[in-house]
Symmetry: D2
Subunit: 269 residues, 4 copies
């Protein structure tokens, strides 16, 4: 009997990229609020997701240092399971509900790509870094205090796609009115058979479900963000026209389920 | 209108990991013939693929330096599209036809992972190297002559999964009786929705279709191959009990189509 | 006027691998106490450094996640300056003073290699990972509490050189009797001119000088350590015969100076 | 007795980054002729090297795929010894002799950094790619024929430092009037001891000596080259004002010696 949540399927299941849920995550995050061209955001939205005029192009660029574990002590194998991620969330509506939609996302780990595609995150490989907070006091420690500065960057295939910096100003006691929208993605798996290359085998609008969400140690401050134009990528189409606040926080949750909001394959049939 | 053969889908389609076929490939390859435990191979085969008793565990371990292009001059963007690959092919039968089945495969490029999953190759991220032939004469050049030595290796997440060496002995004028089986894969995309995590959305047995296949400059010689046991991988289950000939060759083909041999989802329904 | 502490020297000095001291560092560390073959340690010691019979082969294997800054806000450019490191320290004597000597060290960053060579650390490129502590509560968070498990690994060129795991048991209030020896290195720069290839231009025994050393949040526990034998490396010669305690701690210091204990070039003259 | 041409020195010498010369190299190369601001080049030259007014800012940007071997079959361990390189050579004079001076150079391998520093090449770590020529015919093969297109790129720490493309036009039968200048470098090793941080331990002007130089299969064509301005690097100061011809060639040589043209340390003494 072959085993594995994802490929490769093997008798012992030890080689599978992704083990069975629950998947547990804890992270340190930098998030930069910004406003993009609302028409550029509208052009990225999948069917059934509509622009939110009140948002006026509001988006967040996130950088995350993740630690992952499933049920086999994966967190003690950091070479295989620790990873870094960067993504954009744009504000939009799904049937009048305010949501965040994820059009671009990059990680530096193959298991994270595989889990992401399963959920609907359109992950590609990237190189992601963020300044960390260390407990041993030093000019290099970046403690969570007023005035500390953090940088972050995303590159893919040797092109710098985003660079950010924030400077902490104040602790945020209640982040619930900042980070409170559900995340919506497009789960998609193409077909290669001739004549069906424009008819994906899987094409769904999905909603991320997170158990035991914890958001801790939230700080806000001033922010810088650049998303330069490069060859072979078009994320700069939703680059910043105006930049808001920068946030530094910890976030954890578990994943055991996924909700399908729309099945584009059936609805076309 | 959103564009892209794969995620992410964007208005201009420039960020898509995979552009529309045709996909063109040219490569330099090392291939090591070896024999694994036939029971270990049998345990890896998907439904409908059966052990081939005559093969007695015969397999090939391949290392490939690939250059890829689609229709947009991708070969002049080698940072994004040139890649390296390593995989195992095990001999088996599909409905009495001799085939090669691919249970393990590694690449160092995200577009190659995405194209591979679409076809059914269970690709993971790895670090792959092989000795190259250079035209400028030197003890470092490894020319295609009797006595030249080539090495190759595969690692993933800092674990060495395979190491090989071959020494050229003679040119092979007709490789058609060595490399003549079609390649069969399992195309697989899981579901994350609770209660359906063991019911993949896509689960098919597929046959690789290659146009304009060219195999050139084939040399054969003696070979060494090691596939050590490491944490978190089980490819060593089909490690070498006996090693045959080593080959060094050039190979090119194009991909525009894929054949489905079996749809496991429907057949279960 | 060309500028730069290290190469390349340029008019603006912006490209130099290493900027002027002071260099400030803060880190999270895993350290595993172990005992190697005392004869193997003795064989690694440079002239003037002698085996310490009381130590009976005692050594520490360290894994470090470092954040670095000099005076130009380098900590906000983590893609260029954040790095990871792994090294061995073996106990020995220099003129009757108990010291730690560093025979092997690996980092994943070129500026760290350049600073290290300047001090006498024999750095090579490696891929280093350790489990991190995150503040957002989760099975993936690895908090600093009794029972938490941490893993770490070192690989170079696709060969796993060390794998470690520790499980926290108790907080160490006074680490001064554990980590209290000065570190001694061999500062070395060869000559390539024919006839002088065995006469290095620089060959000194040096002592690391650290300002504002801080060691915080020290926990001790049980430990595992493996240092397998691989092709092209001989660090396994001082692999573990017996394993002691594992430690998890934070460490910070600054570097502005270096002491030369012995100049092997002059003393040969 | 400790062994190794470079650090680390060990009893068996197996861990040394660099083994004893002779060092043998063979490569495929792209080289782009261009003209930079002559004042920017002049500002980069070390003492005793003077601008060449006839050159009017002429420089070459090189991309190289290298295979290396010393005397221990290193070419069959490509994970450790195969590497890629990119550098600039600017035309200048040393005591009226036309030379090429190397102010910037990047490689993706630690042994190559160590050999380079020993010679005087100011190597840093970079990610380098070039389109390759494959023998199996395909739109992806980039054969050495009129019309073939090659791309190349250099990135460091996630910033793209150079991007080039060439299109082959004609074979060059006699490249001796194109690539005929000796290469001059600055061999430099700093001191960290307080008070001597501006007095390097080694500071020499050196001349590269190459045995058995072979330059083969030279093609010339049209070329593009961009060297964008990025944070933390100043190579763009000698970016292209005008671009000349592009070249694609094979090159091999061996290294056993180095000539010192000037010793800046003694001359200052």
């Amino acid at each position: 009997m072959l085993q594995g949540f994802s490929v490769p399927l093997t008798p012992e299941g030890k080689s599978t990229l992704v083990t069975q849920p629950p998947w547990h995550y804890s992270s340190d995050c930098l998030a930069i609020e910004y406003w993009a061209d609302p028409k550029a955001i509208a052009a990225l939205l999948p069917p059934g997701v509509t622009p939110e005029s009140k948002s006026a192009g509001r988006a967040f660029f996130w950088f995350l240092d993740w630690q992952f574990t499933a049920s086999n002590d994966e967190l003690t194998d950091p070479a295989r399971y620790q990873y870094r991620e960067a993504f954009v969330l744009v504000e939009a509506l799904f049937e009048r509900t305010p949501i965040n939609y994820c059009p671009y996302i990059f990680v530096d780990n193959d298991a994270a790509i595989a889990r992401g595609w399963t959920q609907g995150y359109p992950k590609k490989f990237g190189s992601v870094y963020q300044t960390r907070t260390f407990s041993a006091p030093s000019p290099a420690a970046a403690p969570l205090v007023r005035g500390s500065r953090f940088g972050a960057s995303l590159a893919a295939h040797g092109e710098r796609l985003a660079t950010a910096r924030i400077q902490l100003e104040e602790k945020v006691d209640d982040p619930s009115n900042i980070f409170n929208r559900p995340t919506v993605m497009r789960r998609y798996f193409p077909q290669l058979a001739a004549g069906r290359q424009d008819k994906p085998a899987v094409d769904e609008l999905t909603l991320s479900l997170t158990d035991n969400l914890a958001i801790v140690d939230v700080w806000a401050g001033s922010a810088e963000l650049a998303m330069p134009r490069v060859q072979g990528e078009d994320m700069n189409l939703i680059g910043p026209l105006r930049i808001g606040r920068g946030y530094r926080l910890g976030m954890a949750y578990s994943v055991t389920d996924l909700r399908t909001l729309k099945n584009y394959v059936r609805s076309e049939g």
